[in-house]
């Protein structure tokens, strides 16, 4: 992927506070028109990274570009092309939702007034708060404020949307709506968003990056990230003498580990192999050599993002 295909690219981007690295030499590559999920536990450095891209925090080392523009030298031009939703959006309490959107539009457009109003109305409709458009911000619920935050970020149809926990304050229906909106954005913008809700990432993201302790521990297309470490894991459901089955499998040179989950009448074996091909072709045969065993089910293990996330973060592994 060359630089022209990237919306965001960072090289060894770092930020430290009193010698402690909040963001430690990260190399991000966010392709244009992707929905890019930025994951990590609390304190991983997600918000700091986003704020560095926006020029709100200065990097202590490394560099970054947004659409080829330097995030420090060309910060104002970068921000012209970004729409940003903060983690806990706060707007001026004396303004209404409509006034807030009008105010946000005023940073990008000089007129005509009726067209700006039409755009404001369009955004209010998009996020479903048109009925509350003329109420003061302080009367809006957390979810409604979040929706307003998405609308103001989108008001100028930015090339890149940076959304920090866009669905955090929403109920399940609100989350569903926001995910649908994110998917619509893909057509015109790149969406770079952080979240703790891993189901959402798996549902809408093309690309994912997992950050832990300020460092990238996994980055790539969602399928690639999900396959990390699971290529050679198989699950087999059997009936019969589980211990004999386990012993038989552990006797094979291509088997590293066998974990057993006893379900009463049957048992589920999670077999980790060091040779995926050998396991795929020979695993069932080994078990069926024992006539007392019945293989009820056999499949390559497919991980979900939560498993991968927990394994990577808890394991503390890094790319480098």
């Amino acid at each position: 992927m060359n630089a022209a295909d990237l919306a965001v690219e960072t090289t060894a981007l770092s930020r430290s506070y009193d010698g402690v690295n909040a963001v430690d030499s990260i190399d991000l590559k966010v392709p244009r028109h992707s929905v890019f999920g930025f994951l990590g536990p609390n304190g991983a450095g997600k918000t700091t990274t986003m704020k560095m891209l926006l020029g709100l925090i200065r990097p202590t080392a490394g560099s970054g570009t947004v659409f080829g523009l330097d995030i420090v030298a060309d910060s104002s031009e970068v921000r012209r092309r970004i729409g940003y939703l903060p983690q806990e959006p706060r707007f001026y309490p004396h303004m209404t939702a409509r006034e807030t959107l009008r105010f946000a539009a005023g940073f990008f457009f000089s007129g005509p007034a009726d067209r700006i109003e039409a755009r404001v109305d369009e955004m209010l409709e998009l996020v479903g708060i048109a009925e509350k458009a003329d109420r003061p911000i302080k009367t809006l619920s957390g979810g409604e404020t979040q929706r307003l935050g998405i609308a103001q970020a989108k008001i100028h149809e930015p090339d890149l949307l940076i959304l920090d926990e866009p669905a955090a304050a929403l109920d399940p229906l609100g989350r569903r709506d926001v995910l649908a909106i994110l998917e619509q954005f893909r057509a015109t913008s790149t969406v770079f968003y952080s979240t703790h809700i891993l189901d959402d990432v798996q549902r809408v993201s093309d690309m994912v990056c997992i950050l832990n302790k300020g460092r990238i521990i996994s980055q790539g297309q969602i399928g690639e990230v999900l396959s990390v470490g699971t290529d050679s894991v198989f699950t087999v459901e059997i009936e019969g003498d589980v211990e004999r089955a386990r012993t038989a499998l552990l006797g094979q040179a291509w088997v590293d580990q066998v974990a057993v989950e006893d379900n009463g009448a049957s048992a589920r074996l999670r077999v980790t192999a060091n040779d995926a091909n050998a396991a795929e072709t020979r695993l069932q045969r080994v078990l069926l050599e024992d006539e007392t065993l019945v293989v009820k089910n056999f499949a390559k293990h497919s991980a979900n993002l939560e498993e991968v996330f927990v394994e990577l973060v808890a394991g503390g592994s890094t790319d480098d």
Partner: protein, 261 residues
């Protein structure tokens, strides 16, 4: 959804230090003149200044010097109000996150600071000095006292300079601290503490205090001397206050440019 939604809109061409200037300035002025704040402040200060001075104006033997000495002293209370009004201007936005939100737009840090300085300075001076002073001049004229309008305007400008001192001081403190406590406490402590340190030889005639209050080293304040046409005994106070306002403003801009949000 396509870019067609914004195709009919005219892009705003403000870049460099002017980024976001028109929008933030109009929002800043609207926060004064688009709300009830301006007339509440104007009514309050008109009532305080004109009401307090009415007995001097309509009394049996109105004394011009006493009247305008008290007028300039009254404006000292405005300094306290300025600190209260301005305390949240920067700190409040830093803490609430609205500053980070605004600065995530194509807005320069200088513009953000200007939008706090200029509309608030205009609002404060108009409602706390200009409007009450015009009505005071009207009242004085009605009572048959002869006051030179240009001299009165000059004296009122000096009273306004005193307010600007506290406005820029509070603004600077807002960039230096993250909580409202010191931002309001330091200006208030200075406002009242001046009467103590004004006794130190040499200081009395240069502190902003001397602009509106007669000190040990001067018979009348700079403002009342200008209005009544007497010699100004503490011109150093004007110089000191102007220089201090400049330094406070410079530090505020400098610090804000380096503030991480």
């Amino acid at each position: 959804m396509t870019k067609a939604g914004i195709a009919a809109l005219e892009p705003l061409h403000e870049s460099g230090w002017r980024g976001g200037l028109s929008n933030l300035m109009s929002a800043g002025f609207r926060s004064w003149w688009g709300t009830k704040d301006w007339w509440i402040q104007a009514l309050l200060w008109t009532a305080v200044i004109n009401g307090s001075l009415a007995p001097f104006i309509w009394g049996d033997t109105p004394d011009e010097l006493d009247l305008f000495t008290l007028y300039s002293v009254m404006s000292m209370f405005g300094a306290i109000a300025v600190a209260i009004v301005m305390q949240e201007a920067i700190v409040g936005e830093k803490r609430s996150g609205t500053a980070a939100w605004v600065l995530s737009k194509p807005v320069s840090r200088q513009t953000f600071m200007l939008s706090k300085l200029v509309p608030n300075a205009v609002g404060v001076i108009a409602t706390m000095i200009a409007i009450p002073s015009v009505l005071l001049l009207f009242q004085v004229t009605l009572a048959g006292m002869e006051v030179s309008t240009p001299r009165f305007a000059l004296g009122a400008s000096v009273a306004a300079l005193n307010l600007l001192f506290f406005l820029t001081l509070t603004l600077m403190l807002g960039t230096l601290f993250d909580s409202a406590g010191p931002v309001i406490a330091i200006p208030l402590a200075f406002a009242f503490g001046q009467q103590l340190i004004a006794g130190i030889p040499g200081l009395g005639s240069v502190l902003p205090w001397a602009l509106v209050v007669a000190t040990n080293e001067s018979d009348s304040s700079v403002a009342s001397a200008l209005i009544t046409g007497q010699p100004v005994s503490a011109p150093g106070a004007i110089v000191f206050t102007v220089v201090a306002c400049g330094i406070f403003t410079f530090v505020a801009f400098w610090k804000w440019n380096r503030t991480e949000l």
